[in-house]
Symmetry: C2
Subunit: 428 residues, 2 copies
């Protein structure tokens, strides 16, 4: 039997407590599977005396995560504090500098500083692992870096923020509007302290940026993501989409195009009958497409004590087993700076608008669309054709630029009673 693998855990929130619990309650299982005892040397958190429901007396306490990260009796620094800068970054850098492996659940840290941290870790032959940073309990980082390692990845796609999916599915189920359900989710504690991280799509975009780097061998580039949150998704659109056989999801898509890497995180329509369309509540789903494997879909809990701790512990087990691989699946110095492509790939679009109650209004809109090169696949007008009831249009494939041009032209017609909503329909 090898020496125990000794952890130092910084951050004792839900996930940290979950990790401690697994190590305390399933020690024998962990040892049987990894060939080593897994132990905790020391822990760190903001408040020492808070009751966390688990005994922590057996572990040394450090107020300072940097001190924890560099202790002699720590082999692996487990960073569960969060935040892209500040203590999380300082302690991670200090751990790597001190020759410790690092496991983190911190998507913001990796999305913003992943390249530098990966270079630091790899130069020192250390592991920097982050299964828990993407899609909670779903072992998607492993699936992409290892399970599909022989695939040229063609597309990565997913619903990776459970709070947003909860809000969107609750809106549909209840018929209530965004503001009401946002308040409900906030009251239930489903949102981050800064809810903009969730509903603004930022948290999900951090995850997408990480997966895109692995998938395409490119440097993580969060700033290049076309980012739109769910704050402007209306109950009218959810209802209208459902009526036409679609669901609205906050969908992340990363895809290599002839003009560069396209990364989008935005509300999209997906077929209601597709696996993504059927995803309810806080569950996450990631779709991985590769030249050989075609399509693999992974579904599981995106957050929570057990699932996230399960992902952290998978990284612990891999380190205990001696598995080492580059942070983003190939050496960081070989990752390319991807050309940033925005909305290169055409798609069908969903358009919703209100028209004035005048003869010929609809004809003006269809003419404008035709002039912009956007052809109509399906159209519905609710109520009598000459009222101001909403018009729904599903277009054939068009680029975002064509759609934007068409909308600008529509606004010049004088027949709109509300600004058109345009949402991409993703082929899944």
């Amino acid at each position: 039997m090898s020496q125990p693998l000794r952890l130092g855990i910084a951050g004792l929130g839900t996930v940290g407590v979950g990790v401690v619990r697994i190590i305390r309650q399933h020690a024998e299982l962990l040892t049987a599977r990894s060939g080593r005892d897994i132990s905790i040397s020391a822990v760190s958190a903001r408040s020492k005396n808070k009751d966390r429901g688990i005994p922590l007396d057996a572990y040394a306490w450090e107020d300072d995560p940097v001190a924890l990260a560099t202790r002699d009796d720590v082999d692996v620094f487990v960073e569960l504090m969060g935040g892209s800068d500040g203590p999380a970054k300082a302690a991670t850098e200090a751990a790597l500098a001190a020759g410790k492996h690092v496991i983190t659940a911190n998507k913001a840290l990796l999305a913003l500083h992943g390249q530098a941290l990966a270079e630091q870790a790899e130069a020192a032959n250390l592991s920097l692992r982050y299964e828990a940073a993407v899609a909670g309990g779903i072992p998607v980082v492993k699936a992409l870096t290892e399970g599909l390692a022989a695939n040229e990845i063609t597309r990565v796609m997913g619903v990776m923020n459970g709070s947003c999916n909860y809000i969107l599915t609750r809106m549909e189920d209840s018929g209530l509007n965004y503001q009401d359900i946002f308040a409900e989710a906030d009251g239930l504690g489903y949102l981050e302290a800064d809810p903009q991280l969730d509903v603004g799509g930022i948290d999900a975009a951090h995850k997408l940026a990480i997966l895109a780097s692995i998938a395409f061998g490119t440097r993580v580039n969060f700033d290049a993501i076309d980012l739109e949150g769910i704050e402007r998704v209306s109950i009218e659109d959810i209802t209208a989409a459902a009526d036409m056989g679609y669901k609205i999801k906050l969908l992340g898509v990363a895809q290599m195009t002839g003009r560069g890497l396209e990364q989008r995180m935005q509300p999209c329509l997906v077929p209601a009958s597709s696996p993504l369309g059927q995803l309810q509540g806080g569950t996450n789903m990631v779709v991985l497409e590769g030249h050989a494997v075609e399509q693999v879909v992974l579904r599981g809990p995106g957050a929570g004590e057990g699932p996230t701790a399960s992902a952290v512990m998978a990284d612990v087990m891999d380190i205990a087993r001696g598995f080492a691989l580059p942070v983003f699946g190939q050496p960081a110095h070989t990752l390319k700076d991807a050309k940033h492509a925005t909305s290169v790939l055409p798609a069908p679009y969903y358009l919703r608008m209100g028209l004035v109650d005048k003869p010929g209004a609809l004809a003006k809109i269809t003419t404008v669309l035709g002039d912009a090169g956007v052809s109509i696949d399906r159209m519905r007008q609710y109520g009598h054709a000459q009222t101001s009831a909403p018009v729904l249009i599903v277009t054939h494939k068009a680029t975002r630029a064509d759609i934007d041009a068409a909308i600008a032209a529509m606004e010049g017609t004088g027949v709109l009673t509300s600004a058109p909503v345009a949402l991409r329909i993703e082929e899944v």
Copy 2:
């Protein structure tokens, strides 16, 4: 850069050709990700001169797979011949004896001889890997042995034979009976040379036996599986199940109970709205449940050149990266002989029977069920209550023994016009 990792590939059917194709066409990608060149030293198959659509001249040819497996210029023997005994077993044993790692897609070999092969491999510190043996392109072996390694697994479940799922979904879509769709699938080349391996559930049961061993730390025990194929699934049952909100799937379930390990591979009803219920055609799905992660669902192609080759190559990449772990996730000598439990866990059951056109017939059946301790959740009788139209019953939870006792008693009532069908309803 390390030395190349040199493969010897035995079997050049669909999967073997797929593996050669990936190595030829994506060499640079494989090297970037694994840190080593992947090369093919030699190949072997039944017929040397068959045109397989790829050039093989660069590789040495061996008629004898044992000779291939033991060549000095082979580091990894890739066994893609199939068959639980004969050349596949002989060559695998020879490869391990000669100090070669082995990768196989051969579920029968592992389900029947996995324990002995694992002990041989581990005694020699060699890898014996088999991602492609279970659920085609889905990286489920990796998810279970590594991604969920810190979980006490509570249940493993899945649809793992695409041909059976194709037949069942085609029956439902077409309304045609089993014999017609079986002939269609056979004509399309969807079935094994011995179709009993597919429709008898044997192939799927091989896969379940392997997953159960990993999940529960038990010696692979194919013979302990409660096995029933799809040959007796009637279009009447598919239609009736659909009418009550269910689909019929050939579902494998492995679960540790207080009385031992229960392994079942049998046609079951699952809710039509569940991910398993929605699975169409040849796609596979595996559901993994663990104490921490709750539930992870993996979905992907269960067969085919690209997907299966993708799984074989994932094992190649892991070996190239130097990852080594015990064959079934913990050392083979520590795997326990699980007590074999049959149908310990109660479940609701679906019952279908025809009754004679006589007053009181239905009352006799419900009385018999009540006497056997089986209570009725829902019941439907089609047509007039006093005709011989079928009666459908969904029971509350009951054990298989109670259901069997109730059926035996029903048969003594003299009111049946057809033998009752009983199918378990799995809670998914």
